[in-house]
Amino acid sequence: MQTAEKDESLKTLREIHSIMDRSARFISLSGWSGVWAGCIALAGAYIAHNWVVAQRHAYYSDAQFVLLALGVLVVAIIGGYYFTARKAKQNGQTLWNSASRQMLTNMAIPLAAGGVFSFALLLNGEEMYIAPAFLTFYGLSLINGGRYTLSEIRYLGYLELILGAANLFFLGYGLLFWVIGFGILHILYGIFMWNKYDNRQAEE
């Protein structure tokens, strides 16, 4: 067999695998997005904690806590979007492609179900179940969306599931579990991913 043909075939196969990978997976998720989301979650938890402590003198309604949570979500998403858009630009990848659409749709479905579920828990006065429920739905969302992006995000999903389940057995500690699940895990995951992908790219 001719070596030239072998080399040519090897090159073609590599290109095929690269296109398969790039078309089926959104690889521009930035590690910084995770670190950012984690920090915002910690800041939000700190405010919520202060409100809970101050609850003896002042009254904070459920609606205020929900607004705080939504505010945290929005700020986390804006920052996450910014860092990911920046990385996509560096990679020469488009942000809005078939892989990112698949990833977002597959993440949105469990998240939307979790949102409705948590809202119903709140209406029924079962606040203590909201943290474990949302951690669980968030974990499912990451596992579901993880098929269309860097596979490590699925491990983050498994950890969130474990935390959500654990929280069910320590019901009064929802805020602590949120700090771990949304704050610390995101930061650790972000640093890990940054180290593994972004950092290496910067060196090249």
């Binding site: 072998k6 090897l10 073609t12 290109e15 296109i19 790039r22 078309s23 990848q93 488009t94 078939s98």
Partner: protein
């Protein structure tokens, strides 16, 4: 038998290989998705898509998003079979079996 004979002539082009690689791992993709994956001009991509369609390796569905046309490309079972055979032939060449 020489595995080079099993290489499909239609997949001689880098662009057609690119289109098939993307479509085999996705349910369907639109024109812009394909364009962003493969480094190619609009006209060139359209020509190669046409060739693949003529060989019944891909299916074309014309649709709309609002008022903009959104044409979706899907791999056919014949296309998927042919492309897999081509991949196998490439792998055999690399392994030096033949």
């Amino acid at each position: 038998m020489n595995p080079i004979e099993h290489l499909n002539k239609i997949f001689d082009s880098r662009i057609r290989i690119g289109i098939m690689s993307a479509l085999i791992v996705n349910e369907s993709l639109n024109f812009n998705d394909l364009k962003s994956l493969i480094d190619v001009t609009d006209g060139n991509l359209a020509t190669h898509l046409k060739t693949l369609e003529e060989h019944k390796y891909i299916k074309v569905q014309k649709g709309f998003i609002g008022r903009k046309t959104n044409t979706l490309y899907t791999i056919t079972s014949a296309g998927s079979k042919a492309f897999r055979a081509h991949l196998e032939a490439l792998e055999k060449i690399i392994k030096g079996i033949g």
